[in-house]
């Protein structure tokens, strides 16, 4: 067996172990004072009506799984965008895709809540998907004109600000009761997830991730540039469309349920790339998914417990750990590339 293979096996074993550890930490820690044995007891008894069981099964477990799945979605979405733009600092947050999704979700929420008092998950995902594709459309238009990677990101950040400004504007003029709800969500959080939410998230995220994994082969050819990919027999238009749709869908799902979560999409693919020391999509795609899940679960533990009972927004924590990675990546790039 060669060194690459050994490295991949060790890295994946480590990722899976870390994933399980993070999951356990997430389930067993929280602001409510539940002892380990109590929690264990509640875990095995299932939903029993006791308070500790309710907290575990209705709050912590759905929250942990949504952090896992949505974190994975972000990591993967970032990886697909970086591939698409051949740009190492692309990600759903910096390119304004998350904010675009946030905007449409906010608008739909305000419109729907005032009329029907609730919005179902599917509507939210659709709204978010439309918003993320809208932002992506703008970014694509801009990317035809700017050649420099850093300019593209600056434009993305601007699109993000515009969308956020419109969202804030809409929220300011919404009814009082909605604002509380919206405000929490517009900062980004994994709190308030129900098992039903988790089911919907699981279906969308796992389907999209499997779709991305099936594209491993053409993505590997695409890394050498479009002409080489085309000559290898890659259907380039199809691949580009799929990359956009899948990354848009993944980040839309995150925006719909957790609001904007910053920097996971950029940071995770880089960490995973260094860990696996490869650029092979067959390894990086599952790697980014696992890495994103771990990253978000650990950040969420910190968000919940660092200043308990006050909860930090998830973006506050992910930015603290994610943004430095972006700076390191930019510094390590050779001159003239960004």
């Amino acid at each position: 067996m060669n060194r690459g293979k050994v490295r991949a096996i060790i890295a994946f074993a480590a990722l899976i172990a870390l994933l399980l550890v993070s999951l356990i930490i997430n389930v067993f820690t929280g602001s409510a004072d539940i002892s380990f044995s109590e929690a264990l007891n509640a875990l095995f008894k299932g939903v029993s009506g006791e308070i500790s069981s309710d907290i575990l099964w209705k709050i912590r477990i759905p929250r942990a799984f949504s952090a896992l799945l949505l974190g994975g979605a972000l990591g993967l979405s970032g990886y697909l965008l970086q591939t698409f733009f051949h740009n190492p600092i692309a990600g759903p947050f910096v390119l304004g895709i998350s904010s675009g999704a946030k905007l449409t979700v906010a608008l739909v929420m305000i419109a729907a809540v005032s009329r029907y008092h609730s919005v179902n998950s599917l509507t939210m995902i659709c709204a978010a998907f439309a918003g993320s594709l809208l932002s992506l459309g703008f970014i694509l238009l801009i990317s035809r004109r700017v050649r420099r990677m850093s300019m593209l990101v600056v434009c993305g950040v601007m699109i993000g600000y515009i969308c956020s400004a419109i969202t804030d504007f809409a929220v300011t003029f919404a009814d009082d009761s909605d604002i509380v709800n919206l405000h929490d969500w517009s900062m980004g959080t994994f709190s308030g997830m129900s098992m039903d939410n988790v089911r919907v998230i699981a279906v969308v995220v796992i389907a999209a991730s499997a779709g991305a994994f099936m594209l491993s082969k053409p993505i590997s050819a695409y890394q050498l540039g479009e002409s080489y990919a085309q000559n290898s027999g890659v259907r380039i238009t199809f691949l580009r469309c799929m990359l956009i749709l899948l990354s848009g869908l993944l980040s839309a799902c995150v925006a719909a349920f957790a609001g904007p979560v910053s920097f996971v999409g950029i940071a995770v693919p880089h960490i995973v790339r260094v860990m696996l020391h490869t650029s092979k999509p067959v390894l990086l795609i599952p790697g980014c998914f696992l890495g994103g899940g771990i990253f978000c679960m650990l950040c969420d533990v910190l968000a919940r417990t660092a200043f308990a009972p006050t909860e930090l927004s998830i973006s506050t924590v992910t930015a603290i750990f994610g943004a430095p990675v972006v700076i390191i990546v930019m510094l390590r790039r050779r001159k003239g590339e960004l």
Binding site: P88, M214, S216, K217, S220, A221, Q223, L224, G225, E226, S227, Y228, Q230, N231, S232, G233, V234, R235, R273, H277, T278, S279, K280, V282, R334, E337
Partner: protein, 257 residues
Amino acid sequence: MERIPVSAEGLSAGYSSPVVEDICFNVRQGEVMTLVGPNGSGKSTLLKTLAGCLEKLGGTVFFDGEDTDNISTGEKAKKLSIVLTERIRPDLMTCRDVVETGRYPYTGRMGLLKDADRKAAQEAIEMVGAEDLADRDFSEISDGQRQRIMLARAICRQPHILILDEPVSYLDLYHKLAFLEILRKLADEKRLAVIVSMHELELAREISDHVIALKNGRALYSGKPEDIFTKDIIMELFDIPEKLYDKYYTNTMKGKM
């Protein structure tokens, strides 16, 4: 009958409007055909169209006697490989990884390499004399070495046709000569049909079997290198005033051109 790996009839190529028009040629096995001409004469457009990176606008291209319109993308990819001018910057890929991407049309759904693919990559690396580079990171080697690796990538596909767009433009003289040596060897030993564009006329003269001189999207002249690389044709092709030509060429390369 001798197999003709690639030929074109009345080929026109371009984007929305044609950049090159009415191109005809045959390249036999073991032949090197060179495209020369000023910048913007349509060399790259023509090569990209032959390589399938651009849709052709008219005319017919044949691979091994078969109309390319009737050949599937996957089959075309097996028959033809390219080396382009554009520099690629893959992250965390060894030279061997880059070479192995050439096996794309042969790998399965997930693109995993089989032993035969690894062997073909190794042979290609040996063919271009890059054994010592194989396990180095692609981003750490020089331009000359990179072109050699890209050539290995192209030939590990075991194509019938090799297309190269200005492959030696950015290389120093030694690497230019070394690269063209390998190219000639590929044509002679592997019987590949090679189509290459270049600006180095004195080198083109040495390695070509056939030359097409392109100007403003038309094949101005087509023929054997000794017939094309004459003073009159070069002056006409590149719009060089006679005084200037004489100053630089007649004195330095007496008897050559």
